[in-house]
Amino acid sequence: MVYRKYREIKQWGKINTKLYKRAAKAYNKIPLPKFEVPEAVKAAGVVVHNPNDPSFWKQFEASKPLPEGALHPALAAPVIQTHPLYNTTPAYVFESFEPFSDGVDQACNLINAVKIEGLPKAVTEVQHNLLRNTAEEDVRDCILQGERYDPTLEKLERRHDKILFWVSHPVLHGTPVLKRNNIILEALYRKVLLAAVKEGQLNGLRSDRDQYISATLTTGRFAEAPLIIRGQPHLVVQADKPLVPWAKPDEIEASKGQTVPSVAPIDPLIDLSLSNLYNGTALVPRANIPGLFIDTLLTTRQQSQKYPWTTEQNAANAIVQCFGAALAQATRNLRRDKIAELGELKEPVVAKTVQLVDGRLDLVAVQLNNLNLEAGNGEAKNFVWYEKGLRLYKPKPFWENMDTVEELNMDAFHQFVALLLKR
């Protein structure tokens, strides 16, 4: 029986009202045909109002005067057009929110770059004396600084198990995963930097922590809707000398006959969002200090528990961020109209990026030769060198304490050092 919440208090009388109620309900349920204005009435040009339309009754409403001060600008709802970064033209924005569908290929297609898997031998086979005896202990120490020694006690996100999806795990406190990765990366960088400075290398570097970096491109297909690449890497390392191009002029010439990876039928722009809020020019830390050149970005990501990114998607993220850094350097202190005129660069711009995600390092270097991203055959292409998913160590799940570093891979660290030292 259907649950009955309300019951009549007492019977109305001797008559069985249910009969009348049943009949009335059945009569009310008979649907009438929808009223259509007869053709003859329409032909006569009679104006027929529809009282079902709520706007019909507005004519009888008395206009209410607004109270005093209702139109004060302080009470006005904020409008997006008043935002300081608002632009009338929407732009394609990349800010690491959405993974690239086709991974590295899509990133290379977007930035019109030749894909080269692996760092060149000129970078990896460089001899150095940094941390010769203590490298392994130092690296373990750096990792434990983020994973174990950090005293932060913040509420961590709820643990979600994919298999036992109904279990509600208790909320734990500790260092957030993003902060852990930031600490590890910074510790490794500091170790390498201080050791290198003793040997007379890596001099004159400046680092900025958690600063915004944004780059704009308005050439080619982005003339009407600019391409914006922005992020907030943990470390932006700048040097007083620009990086020496990795690809020589003959290799740049040879790239004119090379093709970039194809991602058909996917359009590389589908994973970029459209937004009216962006910087029209490059935003770089220490922009007002002359004689600085972007060297390396050190950035981290936290994997989503339910929808983790693949190694390809993480590598694509690192590549596009690296491209953004190189673009920001190429368009540093340039006005919007000057950016639109850029094409083949007389002096190629190189930038490097190191990304740490879930114990894996992505090492990327991008050389910008041509800012026309629609350049086809016969025009110079950009270059991307990348090492994706290098396992540095095996992290434990974020809800567990790490006592010792497991499965430490020193090769990954040596590649990291080689990338930093290459200038």
Binding site: K34, P51, F60, S101, D102, F165, P265, D267, I270
Partner: protein, 315 residues
């Protein structure tokens, strides 16, 4: 409820015997009830009416009507809050003879909100989720065409064609009822497929899995193939608790009086239903509440002259 009485009388030498067929209970189980699983108004609110491939958290109705709050569907409620993926059931392609809209399948995954698997596909217009057919896998290229050739084509599984382009005997799913993007679709359950039966002018007759036939415009789009996850119907939850985790409530325990509705019904199939034009929505009933001032005869449109109201008629 009114009861219907049918009286039969036979002409015979014996006195007339009146047979009466009465149904004392209201008709039940003859019309499908809407499945009120997730709140579509809340979905529209959080998406702004636009499509997104992102996983969403949508409020659930538990089988309740969103207006009255009453239970419409039984045995639904509770369970783990699963992420909701908006599925695009309508596939549109160019109407040129050679052109197709191509998409690549990025991944095929289970969906807690439906029985069949869903596939994330990416094309030049963006990413979207569609229902995955049986052999759909990541990396596959699927095509959508809106062209109706003079001779029917052999449909490739996973591709979408207008019904008029498909030959008789083709297995189809996600068949649009009307050739519009907001129409409902037939055949969305796991492992199911409709069959194209015949072409009749501008209409195509399709037999659905429950053997009913519908005649639809030949420009209605349909996907070729059987839907994925056919083994869904053979899967066992394993325990009563697991049933509850998926949002199914208990289905027995109370006393049920025998009412004659249960049991297999052997009825002839209805004739082929022609879906020509969608039913027009009736305008909603308006309710107005007037104040005492408005109901009274002193003010507003109902105001009457005192000469009329104060006139006393003496007869």
């Amino acid at each position: 409820m009114l009861s219907r009485a049918v009286t039969l009388s036979r002409v015979s030498a014996q006195p007339c015997v009146a047979l009466q067929f009465t149904r004392n209970y209201p008709a039940r189980g003859t019309k499908p009830k809407p499945r009120l699983l997730w709140d579509e108004r809340h979905l529209e609110e959080i998406t702004g009416g636009e499509y997104t491939h992102q996983p969403l958290r949508v409020n659930r109705l538990g089988g309740r009507d969103p207006d009255t709050g009453r239970k419409v569907n039984q045995h639904i409620g509770g369970g783990v809050k699963f992420d909701y993926f908006m599925v695009d059931f309508h596939r549109r392609g160019p109407t040129d003879s050679e052109a197709t809209y191509d998409e690549r399948v990025l991944e095929v995954r289970r969906d807690a909100n439906r029985s069949s698997h869903i596939a994330l596909v990416a094309g030049s217009k963006g990413k979207r989720w569609i229902l995955a057919t049986e052999n759909m896998h990541a990396g596959q290229i699927i095509k959508t065409s809106g062209y109706i050739p003079p001779n029917p084509v052999i449909g490739i599984e996973g591709n979408a064609y207008p019904l008029g382009a498909l030959g008789v005997g083709t297995l189809v799913n996600c068949i649009e009822r009307f050739p519009t993007t907001d129409s409902d679709v037939f055949v969305i359950a796991a492992g199911m497929a409709g069959v194209v039966v015949r072409h009749q002018g501008n209409f195509v007759v399709v037999r659905l899995p429950h053997k009913h036939e519908f005649s639809m415009h030949n420009t209605c789009m349909a996907t070729v193939g059987r839907l994925s996850h056919a083994e869904f119907h053979d899967k066992i939850f394993g325990s009563a608790n697991m049933h509850r985790r998926f949002g199914y409530k208990m289905s027995s325990g109370l006393y049920h009086k025998k009412d004659g509705y249960c049991g297999r019904k052997i009825r002839p199939l209805p004739p082929t239903r022609v879906l020509d034009k969608p039913e027009e929505e009736e305008p909603p009933c308006q309710q107005f509440t007037f104040t005492k001032r408005q109901l009274g005869h002193h003010f507003g449109t109902a105001a009457t002259h005192p000469l009329v109201t104060q006139t006393v008629f003496r007869f």
